[in-house]
Symmetry: C2
Subunit: 284 residues, 2 copies
């Protein structure tokens, strides 16, 4: 069975798979695209990863992830900027059009949310030239507000766009991840505003109660409360024609066989999301 031509399996959905296993599961389930993470790529080695992907015939929809640069100036911040430059180079080498950036939380002991947000913008300014040269879009991912203190001080699509719009189109963009933004009363206005800036569309579902580790409360599309019809249509209307990733952090999913997860992801996508995509073809 073939997956929707724009569907991409984000590697985090089969978190315990190494890159060989992830590529095999993705190909076996009929996908034509995969979303990569840096850790398994580094574990396989960058050159070997590039060959693996090339031999598989898969596209790389995005590389996760850079970011985590809310700290004040100093050696730790310099190390983060350098690491993000390496991530841009890796994304370029892997053929990933987008490097996903998670902002980072409040530095330890700090209550200065405004300052942390300014430092995210400043870090992106430092990276923009490298990204432009590599033709990799720095793709800011707003995370759900429940992660604002410890993981991402960028909580809404509007905030991500406030930063992205300070840079040229194609250099800085934003992720729309349904899990993180579905609740936002300004979501549809901001998706419309985001025309040309959406560099990654990620889908998974929200259900309550949340698990003990609130990072792991993501579900297959259709298993929760998110209206994929209206959000997907809005993202399409904003001109997004790239791959659509399914990224599920969920312990039960992680404990399942990779092939089963890849197949179930493909099938849930076909039911819950694919009917709302206008175009079959990806044209990034």
């Amino acid at each position: 069975m073939t997956a929707h031509p724009r569907l991409s399996l984000n590697q985090a959905t089969i978190k315990y798979a190494d890159l060989d296993e992830a590529v095999a599961a993705t190909v076996n389930a009929g996908y034509s695209s995969i979303g990569l993470w840096r850790e398994p790529v580094q574990a396989a080695g960058l050159d070997r990863s590039i060959r693996l992907i090339k031999d598989s015939g898969l596209r790389v929809s995005s590389l996760c992830r850079g970011g985590f640069f809310t700290m004040e100036e100093g050696p730790e911040r310099r190390a983060s900027i350098d690491d993000n430059k390496r991530a841009i180079a890796e994304a370029h080498a892997l053929g990933a059009p987008a490097l996903v950036l998670v902002a980072g939380g409040l530095p330890g002991g700090s209550k200065d949310l405004v300052g942390a947000r300014e430092r995210v913008r400043d870090a992106i300014a430092e990276l923009a030239d490298d990204a432009a040269a590599a033709r990799v879009t720095l793709t800011i991912e707003p995370l759900h507000p429940m992660y604002a203190s410890d993981r991402a001080v960028i909580s809404t699509l509007g905030q991500a766009l406030d930063i992205a719009e300070q840079f040229p189109l194609g250099v800085v963009g934003a992720v729309v991840d349904t899990f993180h933004v579905w609740w936002d009363p300004q979501l549809f206005a901001q998706i419309e505003r985001a025309a040309g800036r959406i560099a990654s569309y990620q889908v998974c579902d929200w259900a309550t109660p949340l698990p003990t580790d609130v990072l792991l409360g993501r579900h297959y599309p259709g298993e929760g409360v998110i209206d994929f019809a209206s959000i997907t249509a809005a993202v399409e209307a904003a001109g997004y024609t790239g791959d659509v990733e399914v990224e599920i952090f969920n312990q039960d999913v992680w404990n399942s066989r990779y092939d089963d997860v890849a197949a179930k992801t493909r099938d849930s996508f076909a039911l819950a999301v694919a009917p709302h995509l206008f175009s079959l073809e990806r044209s990034a």
Copy 2:
């Protein structure tokens, strides 16, 4: 030791206390105001509660809570509207200037967030005349977005104001609860917009990791990441001169002695919040 003259102990902070015990703990710790909940008031009986409060000399800063009216038309919705009318009457009888409204989550099986939000507005329209006659402000509480599916489809102060502004000043207002709104990039702009509409200011702190039950992750002011200085100054600058409630849902706090909790609340407020209040006197 006397509490800050504008400090009010929200009864949920000592959840297991009956009304007699809650009033005693509040008076013993030197407060002049208490925030009541309907359940313990009903358990004590309304007439007896009114006498208890009168004899204690305490003000009632608010009554929690009405709301939960996102369902579609039908007997369940009629019952909710009727119950909210009773809550308005109770607030009036207790001398509470504000009835706190929690919107309610998505009805079972529904993914229609937009529709649920419209039904919140419609319910408030049905209640506005009763509230105006009783001189009780219907006070919409935006809840943190992590509760959007199961508890409150109103997630931001901006959303609450979008509804409140459709009604006269004093009839419909909004709660600013630091736990729910601290992360919002539009918070300060919306607090400024809220001049005359803030009918309750509630403080407690946010810390991660969240507990297994994400409802219970609230902490004494100063124990987490919230910047009470800037938020309190903004609420004051918007003209709010009412009582300031501390409302903490936290199993460890609930398991502590009521007198200890009342004292610790008073003392943490004195350190973290009181220095940022311009006026000592409440003038609601």
